[in-house]
């Protein structure tokens, strides 16, 4: 029996079922939370973790990681899972990509076997919505679900045929899996690498207009209206998308949405100087869009904040802007940036923690909450000045535009599956 006592922590879980916000001790026996209370007495072999100046929150659920740069390397995948663990992310979703389309049962099984051997963060698979992500035939949705896939998705690969979109929603609905959509019209976005706006006009970089996103959202919403299949839009980037999703929710359509951290903190002006670490797809939008996205999180239109984790190799970023692999490595900086949003009073603490813990769990049928007799799935966040420095990243990807960003918080420890 292993016992840990977390002393003097501020425990914060705004999950309405839990709703705890107090300074207390917390006792973990083996993998479960045994006691929450003041002045807990430690036995001889108990491990005491001093949590003075710390906040304990539930383990973070990050719903979309693009790990295509890992080239399906098991060792790199384990490294990323360990990175996630150290960063306070106890569960992340592995999105299908060109190399690992996660469209076969063997792919899902091998991923699950891989993580069973390792005590790392939990890797949840997202099954391919269409076979080989080609947008022509439906993926084996029922089988994926049986193997533990949490959702279905076609990543950034287009489904040109609207009938296939509709059929995929109908089938997913009957299987009972949520569909994750990265809204992007393939023709309107083709070849683009930055927002269609003043920066693209000035730099002459190929642009992606916001219509590439909103036109696709409109099509999917029409199909959701018809099929009633729950859809989650990830990586929405602009004000108009927030408006469309808000309206859909008001009309009681089963839709939810998420935004990745970079879109809340950066905008197209950060593309100036051709900084390849700001090259992401969909692209950073205008400052007004950035503010609208922040407001979307505040008012609940946007349910989830993801890290947008897309690690890239050094070589993939050492090219001319448009030729670089789009993406920002998001795991390592996620908690400091999340608390920066809170500190800067952009998003309140309850909304922020719900957006990374409670809401992803609710939307994707996972568990979250600091609850007695339930698994201790916790992040200890220390109130300590930190400057984001990619040389200290654990991730394979050091690609970040957040180098030098300051935060007053960093992850002290993550406790998951009885591992710190």
């Amino acid at each position: 029996m292993s016992v840990k006592i977390l002393k003097n922590a501020k425990v914060f879980d705004p999950n309405p079922v839990v709703n705890i916000n107090k300074k207390t001790d917390l006792k973990i026996v083996d993998n479960n939370i045994a006691t929450i209370g003041n002045n807990l007495i430690a036995e001889k072999n108990d491990k005491i973790i001093d949590c003075e100046n710390c906040t304990i929150i539930p383990g973070i659920i990050d719903i979309y990681a693009d790990l295509s740069a890992l080239q399906s390397s098991n060792s790199l995948l384990i490294k990323e899972a360990k990175t996630a663990h150290k960063a306070g992310i106890t569960t992340f979703f592995y999105a299908p990509d060109k190399i690992n389309t996660i469209d076969s049962l063997s792919s899902i099984k091998s991923l699950q076997n891989l993580q069973k051997k390792q005590k790392t963060s939990s890797i949840k698979t997202i099954g391919a919505l269409t076979s080989k992500l080609q947008g022509e035939q439906l993926g084996k949705m029922y089988s994926f679900k049986k193997q533990g896939a949490v959702a279905l998705c076609n990543a950034l690969y287009p489904i040109y045929n609207t009938k296939i979109k509709k059929l995929s929603l109908q089938y997913a609905k009957s299987v009972g899996l949520k569909v994750i959509v990265l809204p992007q019209d393939a023709y309107l976005s083709a070849g683009g690498c930055v927002n269609d706006g003043p920066i693209s006009s000035k730099l002459g970089l190929p642009a992606i207009p916001i219509e590439a996103e909103t036109c696709d959202i409109v099509v999917w919403l029409e199909l959701v209206k018809k099929t009633k299949c729950p859809v989650h839009f990830v990586n929405i980037t602009c004000a108009e998308s927030v408006r469309l999703i808000r309206q859909a929710k008001e009309n009681n359509l089963p839709v939810t949405a998420s935004v990745a951290m970079p879109y809340l903190l950066l905008n197209e002006n950060d593309n100036l100087n051709f900084n390849t670490d700001t090259h992401i797809i969909p692209p950073l939008r205008s400052y007004q869009d950035q503010l609208f996205l922040q407001q979307g999180v505040v008012d609940g239109t946007i349910d989830i904040i993801s890290s947008g984790h897309t690690p890239c190799s050094k070589e993939q970023k050492l090219k001319a802007f448009a030729m670089t692999k789009p993406g920002i490595s998001g795991f390592d900086s996620f908690v400091p940036l999340l608390f920066k949003l809170i500190d800067d009073k952009i998003i309140n603490k309850t909304t922020a923690i719900n957006a990374v813990c409670t809401n992803p769990a609710r939307i994707f049928n996972l568990t979250s909450g600091i609850t007695l007799k339930k698994p201790a799935n916790l992040v200890i966040v220390k109130n300590q000045n930190t400057i984001i420095d990619n040389t200290e990243f654990n991730s394979f990807g050091k690609n970040t535009p957040f180098n030098g960003f300051m935060s007053n918080y960093q992850v002290y420890k993550t406790i998951f599956k009885n591992k710190e």
């Binding site: 083709a190 003043p198 693209s200 006009s201 730099l203 002459g204 970089l205 001319a320 802007f321 448009a322």
Partner: protein, 319 residues
């Protein structure tokens, strides 16, 4: 050369690199004009100098070029610079070597400066940011972003004919969206505080935000040409067009081509410019390209002295 000596005596390397127009001041543009003008003899011929003897320059053209590549080579030779023309199609980049590795290898061969033309916007800036020693990068055109020496030779040509920039009205016609020439020239004209810059193109060939460019947009060429001092015609950048931006070349010519009737809308002493290559009968009528108002061939000659000036002011001469 005297003015150049005065400038350079203040600072050996006037510019570290020459990457884009937007970082230049009006004073710096005037300095480039002065240095370039100093390379002309009284009879209009260009001087031969040993100012940069012993230096080596590498021409790296990842896109086709006739005028720019030839004039960079000629400019270098006029300054007694060794020129290495790298055959990109038969170089290691065609075997997968990255642009940066290629530059680093050439640098190890003691090349002093690299003239880079690349299809991707920002490529020369990227290379410059990665270099660790004193090698110079000169941008010879990057994607749709910038073509600073072309902008300078255009400014120089306008200066030769018009002198007072602030009173000028200038119209640029054609594919603005894909044109690095237009972007650079517009920036340079704004720095020179030109009276009015008009751009003419179908909406499909315009960047989405003209406000940030500091221009007035005209969909109608006939309105845009009224009373202007300078007309700059651009070619259609077909190599950068992957969509149906215009119905056809002939319709574009009909709607936006410069012909004699339209030229009469401009001031009587208006000059007509074109960065080349010209498509006679598409964007410009042959009789206008060959008319006394055309300064297209002046631009080509001026390209040599401007590029000489840029080499002098980047590679530095111990004067």
């Amino acid at each position: 050369m005297l003015y150049f000596a005065l400038i350079m005596s203040k600072k050996n390397n006037y510019f570290k690199h020459f990457l884009s127009i937007d970082s230049l001041s009006k004073h710096q543009i005037q300095d480039i004009i002065s240095v370039a003008n100093g390379f002309f003899n009284q009879d209009g011929s260009i001087i031969q100098s040993t100012a940069l003897q012993g230096k080596t320059i590498a021409n790296l053209f990842f896109e086709n070029s006739t005028r720019t590549k030839s004039t960079f080579e000629l400019s270098a030779k006029k300054l007694s610079v060794n020129v290495l023309n790298v055959d990109i199609n038969h170089s290691a980049t065609s075997k997968g070597e990255s642009l940066l590795d290629m530059i680093l290898n050439l640098q190890a061969m003691q090349v002093d400066a690299f003239v880079i033309r690349h299809p991707n916007a920002g490529a020369p800036l990227f290379v410059a940011s990665q270099l660790k020693n004193e090698a110079v990068i000169i941008n010879a055109g990057d994607g749709s972003h910038s073509h600073p020496t072309q902008a300078m030779l255009d400014i120089f040509t306008i200066w030769q004919h018009k002198k007072d920039f602030q009173s000028l009205k200038i119209t640029i016609v054609g594919d603005i969206l894909h044109s690095r020439v237009a972007r650079s020239l517009i920036m340079a004209l704004n720095i020179m505080q030109v009276g009015e810059i008009r751009v003419v193109a179908p909406r499909t060939l315009m960047p989405s935000n003209t406000d940030v460019l500091g221009v007035h947009y005209y969909p109608d060429i006939d309105e845009a040409l009224v009373d202007v001092d300078v007309i700059v015609m651009l070619r259609l950048q077909k190599e950068r067009m992957n969509h149906a931006y215009i119905p056809s070349g002939s319709e574009f010519c009909h709607q936006y081509g410069l012909n004699e009737t339209r030229l009469k809308l401009a001031k009587k002493d208006a000059i007509v410019m074109h960065p080349g290559p010209t498509n006679r009968g598409v964007e410009i009528a042959p009789q206008i390209a060959d008319s006394p108002q055309s300064v297209i061939l002046n631009q080509v000659t001026n390209g040599i002295v401007i590029r000489m000036a840029v080499m002098m002011m980047t590679m530095g001469a111990d004067t």
